[in-house]
Symmetry: C2
Subunit: 783 residues, 2 copies
């Protein structure tokens, strides 16, 4: 008899082949079993600049199967020490590399932008204004083009700040293609190009992403295809350790961006991370300490003049420590006004940016050329405004107390740019516009210069950066949100300072600082991390109390209008981010009711036929399956219809078992040594890119013993549990699957009633299935 | 027939009548049912200065019973607004009152200690040394006596810093008598007395306790017996809201102690709190902002000379901002040396303090008189040393660059005290010893004074404060650990600075600062909060990188020897603190096995006979009972032996039902309106002090419908769950009881297999029942 060989191929790619847990309506196996028409769908909103992809969850929960327990028990003291040593070494390396790359980016930007600006100034001095415009615009277009082409062609995920995606990753969402080597390189070069091009965006957000990429690549031993196969590194090939590393990376990034070590740690803590442990706090702190040491070392080197035009800067970027701050209790009024306006403007910015991003989304979806053209248009508009607008304002005479080298200046930096003015005069708007963004902030933060800027110049500056801030963020280049908001905020702060001039004895430079802080709080809604970042940025501790008040007021005002900008972007990208607090109406629904709205759960037996497993894998998209045993309850000896929950098995592990052909001829339980010969816990913990499996029809009749691969300690809830409390459990413990067990104990009751995943707990999805819940009144969202 | 009336009195006092959940071996009802001899016992270690009391857990979990759900659904928008408004008002008041009381304490100490010292200096100037000694010692003894008598007689819990108890409270342990009005008053007066008496202790720890007391009292509307019955306040009579308030209070306390608003928030976050939400971060931040504003306002008032001798100080306490810090990469070596020595000394201090506290424990147990005598002995010894030792050192000549008013000084403060020296000379040891602790720290931190202190003086200072630091902490007065450690650390730091003099160009004052930081990290094992506290304390941001490195090294070194000082004290006090990470061997045990080692669980029926409930209450000490229904599984219609888990009911709610005589003549389920007539959710949430119940024999035959009072959504685990993962759930979600449900579904299986409480998860208790687990090898404690 000829052997028939039927081929079955199951693929599991992290990027798209493996579908999300929730979209089960396309499931042919389950379709006839559907009891109700209401099914949960995933959020339909598309990703900014990209289509929403099927997104998996991460395995932050410890998968306590037999292999793990054996591996864990057999770990020697030496291996434990190896692990601890490597953990700290990696934290060190993350800090070191982030510091080095941040320095590199800084140097490149300062030098590229510096030579560009010097050349333009040179032309302007010769009154060749039109040539200056051509060169300025041309250089900017070229730099933007480099950044945009790289982003569009090689790494679409490198566009934008990357912070929302990191936030989602640390929440347990496996955001695809975020931490690859290509992304890292494109982000570095793109960031240099985009910032050098004078676009209204910062390198701060991208640095956070760069830090995270470095951390992820270090943890897995290099880029996907060229991974270091070092034995020690295998401890880190799991989602839990990668989570810790990426947290370190994000903190290092913020630290490198603002040279704010404590601020970096707090930023991760307050804004980025979902879970936090004090041990992690400490390791993160170590990484940022390393970053600071690296930055300081480079500043020493650069101060000796070996870094090209770049040189100054110091450990403190926007230093206002030389101001003696005198404020009295009555100064609380202007401070409160700054806070309120900052909150209103911040939430208005969030609102408008949301609209712009939706519009850009439509444009970007049309194709790569459209993305590119959009970026170039924005660059052209920016260049034209930055070059053209300073011609509109009147030249101001230099203050007689300043020396000739101080005012007017024609160098790259300097607070009083001559531009088109005669000698002895300076153009205050050119000081703010025809310079790098960092210098612009430094100039507008400058203290003890109450008469430097005209109201009209500041108004133009503020209006321009409001427009640019809205229209630059969504283009396909790496772009941070911090600097645009700081520029906007400092503009309105300084304007407010001018307006209040006589009523308050707070310096105008400080008004600019407070304005920037208030707008940040109004848009990003952070408090303590922003406070510390501003503290470390401005190096003035006496500013602390008023900064605190400004931040608190701005956040309160902003919160009453709309959510934070990162939440808006998360929502736009359709990432299933699990919120900290359940919605109030979730108390009115039990998980049992939620499970009833889904197709019935697919369970497997402890020793299962291969054909059945193949069938289940082919016909469902679930990533986890409860494993159930029929049998006898040992102490009671009840034989009739007893079933036992053995645990939950992951799709990836089923595929591994098929791939390794771990088949049995007869239906039996295996011994521990058998499984240890085939499998290794470290292999199982790794998130494999692609698994292809072929099963012959002979093998289809064989059996697999799932027991040793099953996580025997899944978290469970009774079916009477409210969705609100289940969600608290799901998030607090960092789950991927939550089993629902029956509240009834009787013969014939299924031992597992349902299974909850991240998508099932998304408020949008629940409301789609249970629209009446939105109308239930009462109760506030806890916070 | 005469009616018999049997009386039954059940008492539930939070302090001692209600026993801990774990000591069930004294349970006469369960005794015959015991299957095994192994039972769990509570930790036998006694409390420092007091006997260990039976300690309850707190209800941080939301008790979702019918009443709660109704109350929650019927909350109107106005009530929600009331709640939110009050939440912020209370946070404001906590900050305000903590700020005011901290100022009061500061003023009192500065003035009492100031006049005392001025009088002594006056006597010394007249060479009446012996009279000086008598007055000095007498005044100190008197002040110590006031503090000690108050503590011993009125509020034993006011002794010590209170931070470990607050830490335990926020972990879910109902530490008894911690937050009362008496405690608050004793703590305030005692702290003033003890610090003015010149004892080697600080007001910092007590201020944290004071802040928490204020928060707790505000939340419950005043002292226990005179509570404000304001309707709005009822929202806060539950453990969850009290938890948030006390977190605010603790942060405000640290902020008031060090005038470090950000440091205060981070201290709560890193050291005190177990759970954290970003909304709480924000409210806490608000409280500390208020504290800073209050402190600043008072400093302005005091600077105008209206606060007696008190006056200087400023918003920054130990200001070293005037130092220009120049350090190069090579300075990392002395910095690392400081860190290593700090870590070793810190862990040595922890070790010795542990021994001393155990010794003191024995003395304190002998009675009040012994406690008092111990305190007075320490005070006498301290005074004798502080007064006598300066005579041993040689007088130093004043530097010629200093004016006569600067050196020597005879005022209360000043860096060069004349003491017993001739004119033109000063006594450097008297500068450090014969002053308040705050001034001593300021003097030793003083920068640009490389030749001020002799090595011998610093050695004496360091040795003295090592001894005092060990023997002062355990006496029965309010005492903080921060300042003793800062004093010790600054002494050794300055010594190290002297020794390294020529090798490093770091200022000796900075060496003292770094020494203090390293010893703090070596003993308390905090990182980021200490870093920020030191930053805000010293007002010098450029110190940040080296402070970070010192802290990291010191903590690493310290951690390799023993746990942090707060953990040691927690352990000594026998508080069942739930650690963040499960012990490695907990993976080798299932909760089912753990439950088998305990007496069988006592379950109640949904509609239960009064006699049965009374019996259960009288004969068990459990605080929660699973409620189980027999019946039919609705969808399947299986009538035979089906049981249903309905939820869990608290002892307090059973007592309430008995007290309110909510009895039914027949066995039936009640309607919703019936229960709403009798009970109110807010009443149930409150932690009542004492409930007395009398039940007649007639009533004994009646029924109670437990359904509406039952928490229908308890968290559960399968019996196959490992203890490690159950503990993660228990801690992360903030539970009091965790139900264990069977993994088998079959007729005849009990629907609830067991119940886990905090005591059951304490490693010590588990190891008592399963001693072999301690020997299981492999695996590291996750961190």
């Amino acid at each position: 008899m000829e052997k028939e060989s039927s081929q079955f191929i199951a693929e599991a790619t992290t990027t798209q082949n493996m579908e999300g847990e929730a979209d089960e309506e396309s499931n042919p196996l389950n379709q006839p079993l559907l009891k109700r028409s209401r099914t949960l769908t995933s959020n339909p909103l598309a990703m900014v600049g990209d289509k929403v992809s099927y997104i998996e969850s991460l395995d932050y929960e410890i998968n306590e199967n037999d292999l793990f327990k054996h591996d864990w028990r057999s770990r020697s003291k030496v291996q434990v020490l190896q692990y601890v040593f490597l953990k700290w070494t990696l934290a060190f390396l993350v800090g070191l590399l982030t510091g080095l790359i941040a320095t590199l980016i800084n140097l490149a930007i300062e030098n590229i932008a510096g030579y560009k600006l010097l050349f333009i100034v040179h032309l302007i001095q010769k009154k060749r204004f039109f040539m200056g415009f051509i060169y300025f615009t041309g250089a900017n277009l070229l730099l933007t083009m480099v950044a945009a082409v790289l982003c569009v062609c090689f790494a679409p995920t490198a566009a934008g700040p990357g912070i929302p995606e990191i936030k989602a990753y640390l929440n347990g969402v496996d955001t695809p293609n975020m931490f690859g080597a290509t992304t890292l390189i494109v982000k570095i070069i793109g960031s240099i190009g985009a910032v050098s091009a004078g676009l209204d965006l910062g390198k701060e957000g991208p640095l956070v992403h760069i830090g995270s990429c470095i951390a992820s690549l270090l943890g897995q031993g290099g880029p996907n295809n060229y991974r270091l196969k070092w034995r020690w590194l295998r401890y880190f090939n799991n989602d839990r350790d990668r989570h810790d590393l990426i947290t370190c990376g994000a903190s290092s990034g913020v630290c490198a961006a603002f040279r704010a070590p404590v601020g970096g740690v707090l930023f991760s803590l307050e804004e980025v991370a979902t879970w936090w442990r004090s041990a992690l706090l400490w390791r993160t702190f170590f990484s940022t300490a390393v970053v600071v040491v690296v930055l300081r070392a480079f500043i020493e080197i650069c101060n000796s003049g070996e870094c090209g035009i770049f040189g100054s800067g110091g450990l403190v970027m926007f230093d206002v420590s030389n101001v003696t701050i005198k404020y009295r209790v009555m100064d609380i009024i202007p401070v409160a006004v700054i806070g309120i306006i900052g909150g209103v403007l911040g939430s208005l910015y969030n609102y408008c940016l949301h609209k712009v991003l939706r519009l850009y989304n439509l444009i970007n979806q049309k194709g790569r050329i459209h993305k590119l053209l959009l970026s170039l248009t924005v660059s052209l508009f920016t260049s034209a405004c930055q070059y053209g607008l300073p011609f509109l304002v009147k030249c101001k005479p230099c203050d007689s107390s300043l020396s000739e080298t101080e005012c007017p200046t024609n160098g790259r930096s300097g607070n009083f740019k001559q531009f088109n003015c005669p000698d002895g005069y300076y153009n205050d708007l050119a000081t703010l516009l025809l310079t790098t963004n960092d210098d612009a902030v430094r100039n507008i933060f400058s203290t003890n210069t109450p008469y430097e800027y005209q109201t009209s110049s500041l108004l133009i500056f503020f209006a321009l950066y409001c427009i640019l801030g809205l229209f630059t963020f969504g283009i396909a280049v790496p772009s941070g949100l911090f600097l645009p908001i700081i520029l906007m905020g400092s503009g309105y702060g300084r304007l407010l300072g001018l307006a209040m001039g006589s009523y308050s004895n707070i310096d105008q430079g400080l008004f600019a600082v407070l304005g920037a802080a208030s707008l940040m709080a109004g848009s990003m809604r952070m408090t303590i991390s922003l406070c510390v970042i501003f503290l470390e940025l401005t190096n003035n501790l006496l500013l602390l109390p008023i900064t605190m008040i400004v931040l608190l007021i701005a956040k309160t005002v902003g919160d009453s209008f709309n959510p934070s900008i990162y939440e808006i972007i998360l929502h736009l990208k359709g990432l299933p981010f699990l919120d900290a607090h359940p919605e109030p109406w979730m108390r009115n629904l039990t998980v049992g009711e939620l499970a009833d709205a889904k197709p019935p759960v697919v369970t497997l037996h402890g020793v299962e036929k291969v054909a059945c497993i193949v069938d289940v894998l082919r016909n469902t998209t679930h990533n986890g399956f409860p494993v159930v045993d029929d049998g006898v309850v040992p102490p009671l000896g009840i034989a009739t219809e007893a079933t036992e929950v053995h645990g939950i098995i992951l799709r990836a592990h089923l595929l591994q078992a098929l791939k390794k052909k771990w088949f049995l001829r007869e239906k039996r339980r295996t011994e521990e040594w058998e499984v240890r010969e085939k499998f290794n816990w470290v292999d199982l913990a790794e998130r494999e890119g692609n698994i292809e499996v072929a099963v012959t029809s002979d093998e289809m009749d064989m059996y697999i013993d799932l027991h040793p691969l099953t996580n025997t300690t899944p978290y469970t809830v009774l079916e009477s549990m409210s969705v609100a409390k289940a969600m608290v459990l799901f998030r607090q413990v960092g789950l991927r699957h939550l089993l629902i067990v029956p509240k009834y104990v009787a013969a014939g009751v299924p031992p597992v009633v349902g299974i909850l995943t991240r998508q099932d707990l998304m408020p949008y999805n629940i409301l789609t299935a249970f629209p009446h819940l939105a109308r239930t009144t009462g109760g506030e969202k806890e916070n």
